[in-house]
């Protein structure tokens, strides 16, 4: 009888661990996009770090990246970006979200909170795609951010400002901690 109970307990441990588990960001691509009449620009960062704490089927997620890690392919533009978003005063951009712990591939909707340039903006019900990749989870989506959400004055080139829209493409791969 005792042996049976021990066996049942051992079998239950992985299920408990999965339900109340933690996930670590394995690799990621965060890319902002700004548009100017003369050209479009994408600034990409692979330096984000993230952690997800899951309990009872719900996960608290935090992803953060240094502002200066975004690379648009032009050092002058990157420095200007850091300046215009107060990146030296607020060196990190962080995203907090609460998401359901998807067991399989699915589309989830999350309420996001982005802290950037010393301001916090909330984006409700942003769709993300979750894909199971052999033990790892890929979560990708696009956050419909705008410069005005963070009080960022639109940078201009040749006296023409960039568009207010600044969609942020998110592609993250998570592994169990």
């Amino acid at each position: 009888m005792i042996r049976l109970r021990c066996l049942l307990l051992l079998l239950a441990v992985p299920a408990i661990a999965r339900a109340n588990g933690q996930w670590v960001l394995e690799r990621s691509t965060l890319a902002y996009h700004v548009s100017h009449p003369l050209h479009d620009t994408d600034g990409v960062s692979h330096a984000a770090r993230g952690k997800a704490v899951c309990r009872s089927g719900e996960c608290e997620v935090l992803v953060a990246a240094p502002v200066k890690s975004f690379d648009s392919g032009d050092s002058n533009r990157d420095l200007h970006m850091v300046q215009v978003v107060d990146g030296a005063r607020y060196p990190l951009v962080s995203v907090r979200l609460r998401a359901p712990e998807a067991k399989d591939s699915a589309e989830i909707h999350c309420d996001l909170q982005i802290e950037f340039a010393g301001k916090t903006a909330t984006y409700p019900q942003v769709p993300f795609t979750v894909t199971d990749e052999g033990g790892e989870r890929r979560i990708s989506g696009t956050i419909p951010a705008k410069l005005s959400d963070f009080g960022i004055p639109p940078p201009s080139l040749l006296a023409v400002p960039v568009k207010n829209d600044m969609p942020i493409r998110v592609d993250t791969v998570w592994r169990p901690a």
Binding site: R55, L79, Q83, V84, R96, L158
Partner: protein, 235 residues
């Protein structure tokens, strides 16, 4: 009968042991024993006097509490040190100053196009077979204005604060490389122009290195236009 007596005694002993062994359990789990007023009173006294089993004292099941909210991860959990999280006002001020100066550089550079074009437009009238003195004066004056504006434009880029640890990447490299071309051209063009003017004023044909004035000017204009294009258009 001694055997019967022994059995009877054994039964009583077994019953007593059984009673003593089960009494606490039965007292806790059954109300059957409470029909005995004395035992009931003794149990209540025991409960009032303290140290009862918590489940006994509060037999109703505890109210269902919601599961605790998942603990939120922090930036420290991600491995960011406090130094990485805290910004620098001085560094921001340096970036602000750099941007301010480069904006002036950009603005002056665009304004400089106006005297640049005007100088080019008057170049035809300053040629040795066609131009008169007044047209050459105008061309020279516009050239000087262009040179002055150019020096002012360049000075803002040169004096803008440099950011430590920043490696130059992208099209800005072409912008900086072309600055060497139009920078040298902007020094040589007025010198060669003054030499040519001097030769014409002396009644000579333009000769020697002065003949390169228009060619050097054309290269300078081309490099200047290309430098603007490198920051304006993404290749």
């Amino acid at each position: 009968m001694p055997m019967d007596d022994f059995r009877q005694t054994l039964r009583k002993l077994a019953a007593a042991v059984l009673f003593l062994t089960l009494a606490p359990v039965l007292r806790a789990d059954s109300d059957e024993w409470r029909f005995l007023p004395s035992l009931q009173a003794a149990l209540e006294t025991s409960a009032d006097q303290g140290n009862p089993d918590p489940e006994q004292a509060n037999p109703s099941p505890p109210p269902e509490t919601p599961p605790p909210a998942p603990s939120q991860p922090s930036l420290q959990d991600l491995g960011f040190t406090p130094e990485q999280q805290i910004g620098s006002v001085e560094r921001q001020a340096l970036l602000d100053k750099r941007t301010r100066m480069l904006k002036i550089h950009q603005r002056l550079g665009l304004i400089t196009i106006i005297p640049f074009v005007a100088t080019l437009a008057t170049a035809g009238g300053a040629k040795e077979h066609e131009g008169g003195s007044s047209q050459r004066n105008l061309h020279a004056a516009l050239g000087l204005v262009t040179a002055a504006m150019y020096i002012a434009t360049a000075s803002y880029a040169i004096r803008a604060p440099k950011i430590e640890g920043m490696r130059t990447r992208g099209q800005i490299r072409w912008h900086k490389a072309l600055a060497w071309v139009h920078g040298v051209g902007m020094v040589l063009t007025p010198i060669l122009g003054a030499m040519a003017r001097n030769q014409l004023d002396n009644g000579e044909k333009v000769h020697g290195i002065a003949k390169a004035h228009s060619t050097v000017a054309a290269i300078t204009v081309a490099a200047y236009a290309a430098a603007i294009a490198t920051v304006a258009i993404k290749f």
